[in-house]
């Protein structure tokens, strides 16, 4: 009887404990709801890259990867539920894909010693690793985006935009308001006129904003939109015959589905980016051979090479490289979340590594450090060709105004540190 009880107890313990055989990557995706059109390609790209690593390389460092997908519907409460349900499964890094969820998870991930990667979204001041020990937002942030847009306007105006009228059409949310401070600071430096045009969720009706743009005739319109707001804005811009080449969206307003509904009229629209676009990379051959042709693609396979698919794939590649770094640091292939954080903080992305991964010139080279979790903040510009239905890079990845952004990051993170009584993490 005693032996039976011990066997049962041992069995129960084994069943209850987390399975540690794989490298676990949670995917907080949204394949349903109003933002599904953006969530699906990102989730597919993220999943397909890990499938490729398993099928082609047998995982990372000989350990298979395991993707645990949880549907958030882009809903903050559901996102937090997903985090709580997956954190005990051996999760190495969370990518919430939502600024709202990010804000909720910053204190939780720090307390649970699990790193979080918010690539091109989330809380910008989390780039200060001295305060935000577990949040990483390399290779670029919204504030880099704002500065990148202004730099691009400087470039095409011979370095002088004094007196130029710039309008910001933005989603009336924490996300949409992110660039305002940076743009206002840069306004002092370069002397342009800035007008702010908020659009309420979901953004299906924007007549007032575009009538105002038609009246005030800004030289350039910048957009911080997401979901249906993007498609309606591009259509309305076309309706008032605003020159598309003077309309520039942030990277969350620059996917294929944002421009396709407007058809030919969207030709010339521009968007910022922190990674390359298109299908002209060797990795897509490997994905076809090892993932699509074997029937293991995450979705229908129709998103491959799209802007947001590429972004998801890029996020997965950066996570995989961080795992390799962590494995080297700690001398073990089977790393845990805390070790993954160390790997992310010591991450070094070089062109050689990118090329070896089949992604030459796909993104900038950069190093992460304890102080700098935001990467180099290099920003490029893409443009939509409606006839060929393709995005193309029209600029290199250019540096942004880190003098202005750095000061803003220091100020915001210092306020957060004081509010939450956080000591320096890097000393």
């Amino acid at each position: 009887m005693k032996t039976k009880l011990m066997t049962l107890a041992l069995g129960a313990m084994m069943a209850a404990g987390p399975v540690m055989a794989d490298l676990v990557f949670p995917s907080l995706s949204y394949r349903t709801g109003p933002y599904a059109a953006g969530g699906i390609p990102f989730a597919d790209g993220y999943a397909d890259y890990f499938t490729l690593l398993n099928e082609r390389d047998g995982g990372i460092g000989g350990v298979p990867t395991k993707l645990l997908e949880c549907e958030t519907g882009y809903n903050t409460e559901k996102g937090v539920e997903c985090y709580e349900s997956l954190k005990g499964e051996g999760a190495l890094v969370f990518q919430p894909l939502s600024t709202g969820i990010t804000y909720q998870l910053i204190p939780k991930t720090t307390a649970d010693d699990i790193p979080m990667h918010t690539m091109g979204y989330g809380r910008t001041s989390a780039a200060n690793g001295d305060v935000f020990s577990h949040t990483f937002n390399y290779p670029g942030t919204y504030w880099n985006g704002a500065s990148g847009a202004i730099n691009y306007l400087l470039e095409i105006n011979g370095g002088d935009i004094k007196g130029k009228k710039i309008a910001l059409v933005y989603h009336n949310s924490a996300y949409g308001k992110e660039p305002i401070r940076t743009l206002e600071e840069l306004q002092k430096k370069y002397g342009y006129d800035l007008s702010l045009l908020p659009v309420d969720h979901p953004g299906q009706e924007q007549k007032s904003q575009w009538l105002q743009i038609r009246r005030e005739k800004p030289d350039y319109v910048l957009m911080w939109g997401w979901g249906v707001m993007n498609q309606v804005a591009i259509q309305e811009a076309a309706n008032i015959r605003f020159p598309m080449e003077n309309f520039i969206g942030i990277w969350w307003s620059g996917a294929e589905h944002d421009v396709l509904p407007a058809g030919e009229k969207a030709n010339g629209y521009k968007a910022l980016t922190f990674h390359n676009v298109g299908r002209d990379f060797p990795i897509f051959d490997d994905i076809k051979t090892h993932v699509v042709d074997t029937g293991k693609a995450a979705g229908a396979g129709d998103q491959i090479g799209n802007v947001l698919y590429n972004r998801g794939m890029y996020a997965a590649m950066l996570a995989a490289e961080a795992v390799k770094t962590a494995q080297e640091i700690h001398g073990t292939a089977q790393i845990n979340a805390s070790q993954m954080r160390d790997g992310m903080e010591a991450l070094s992305i070089t062109e050689e590594k990118m090329a070896a991964n089949g992604m030459p010139n796909f993104g900038p080279s950069f190093d992460v450090s304890c102080e700098n979790h935001g990467g180099p903040g290099l920003v490029g510009v893409t443009q939509w060709d409606a006839a060929n239905q393709t995005w193309s890079m029209i600029s290199d990845f250019q540096p942004t105004d880190m003098e202005v952004i750095g000061a803003l990051i220091a100020e915001d993170s210092a306020a957060y540190a004081a509010e939450n009584k956080i000591d320096s993490q890097c000393n």
Binding site: R31, T32, G33, P34, A36, A37, I40, N172, L196, L197, P198, V199, D200, H201, P202, Q204, E205, K207, S208, Q209, L211, Q212, R214, R215, G227, V228, Q231, V232, Q235, A238, N239, I240, R241, H257, L260, P261, G263, K265, G295, A300, D302
Partner: protein, 328 residues
């Protein structure tokens, strides 16, 4: 004439056009509420479902293809043909009639004599079911809808107003077409309810279910008919809004725009939906133009509800709604 006044006139004109678009959505709510006393929470999702079905048929998309492919390992997505818009619209009307029958057969007939709140809850369930069904049938990606409706600035109006005021007004051709469609739709609905046998039967059911039953009117038939007409109105709204933004999940959220219209115009009046829509459209646009810049903008969403609430203080039944007095 001052620039501000000229701009206000342009904003008012665009507000009227926006109001018509809101009224298009509100009409579907009114029809069902009038005939059955049900506040159909699923009306916005019906517009989404109708528009997705229309695009799916036009593009020759295989319904449930993702499900079929996942289950059987196939790779089918399209039949390989394209259906002309008019035929696709007719086929979609057929699908909406089928949906109306299914709603009546599987849901509503089991809830006869239940409290209105129970019926309302049933429509919430229906909304979520239809959301899932739309995704499952046609996928979640954004689809371009082109049934030949014109879009872009109306050059004639631009020129005329420029000659008069020295500033050309912007009015979207799509909004003008939507106004014509809404006018025809309202005229047809009024004629239908006033001059046809089925329309009179519908009004009889709306007045008193028991009395209508006693003179031989089939409740099932009338409700299927009403849900079908509401489905047709949802299709029209879906086409207009879908042409504007592409057909996508957010179409279901246009119902949010109809609620203040209903509160203001009354839940039981077709003209009320139109007048309510126009007041809300003009009110929110003018407020955003005149007051918005002083308080940070983005006032349209909340101001529509504030305006509706102000009206409710003076006319709780809405502008054209029926005054209900219950004596105990």
């Amino acid at each position: 004439m001052s620039d501000q006044l000229i701009y206000a006139m342009e904003v008012t004109l665009n507000g009227l056009m926006a109001g018509v678009l809101y009224a298009l959505v509100a009409l579907g709510f009114v029809l069902i509420y009038k005939a059955s006393g049900i506040f159909n929470y699923a009306q916005g999702v019906m517009a989404l479902f109708a528009a997705m079905t229309l695009v799916g048929i036009m593009n020759g998309q295989v319904p449930f293809s993702h499900l079929i492919n996942a289950m059987f390992g196939t790779h089918i997505h399209h039949f390989g043909w394209h259906v002309p818009a008019l035929i696709a619209i007719i086929l979609t009307i057929g699908v909406m009639i089928l949906l109306a029958w299914a709603v009546q057969y599987f849901v509503m007939r089991h809830l006869v004599n239940q409290e209105p709140i129970i019926l309302f809850m049933a429509t919430i369930g229906l909304a979520y079911f239809l959301e899932g069904l739309s995704d499952l049938m046609w996928g979640s990606e954004i689809k371009k809808l082109d049934v030949g409706l014109p879009q872009g600035i109306n050059l004639w109006l631009d020129e005329v107003t420029f000659n008069i005021f020295g500033y050309g007004f912007f009015v979207d051709n799509l909004d003008i077409v939507a106004t014509v469609i809404a006018a025809l739709l309202v005229a047809a609905l009024v004629a239908f309810s006033q001059y046809t046998k089925q329309g009179r039967a519908m009004r009889a059911v709306a007045d008193d279910h028991q009395a209508a039953l006693s003179v031989g009117i089939s409740l099932n038939y009338i409700w299927v008919m009403v849900w079908s007409v509401a489905g047709f109105v949802a299709l029209v709204a879906g086409i207009v809004w879908g042409t504007k933004s592409g057909v996508q999940f957010s179409l279901s959220l246009i119902a949010l725009k109809a609620l203040p219209v209903l509160m203001l115009g009354g839940f039981t009046s077709i003209p009320g939906a139109i007048v309510g829509g126009l007041i809300i459209g003009v009110g929110e646009k003018l407020f955003d133009f005149l007051i918005g810049p002083m308080i940070g903008g983005a006032t349209e969403n909340w101001f529509a509800y504030v305006l509706a609430l102000v009206f409710l203080v003076f006319r709780p039944q809405g502008l054209f709604g029926e005054k209900i007095i219950e004596r105990v």
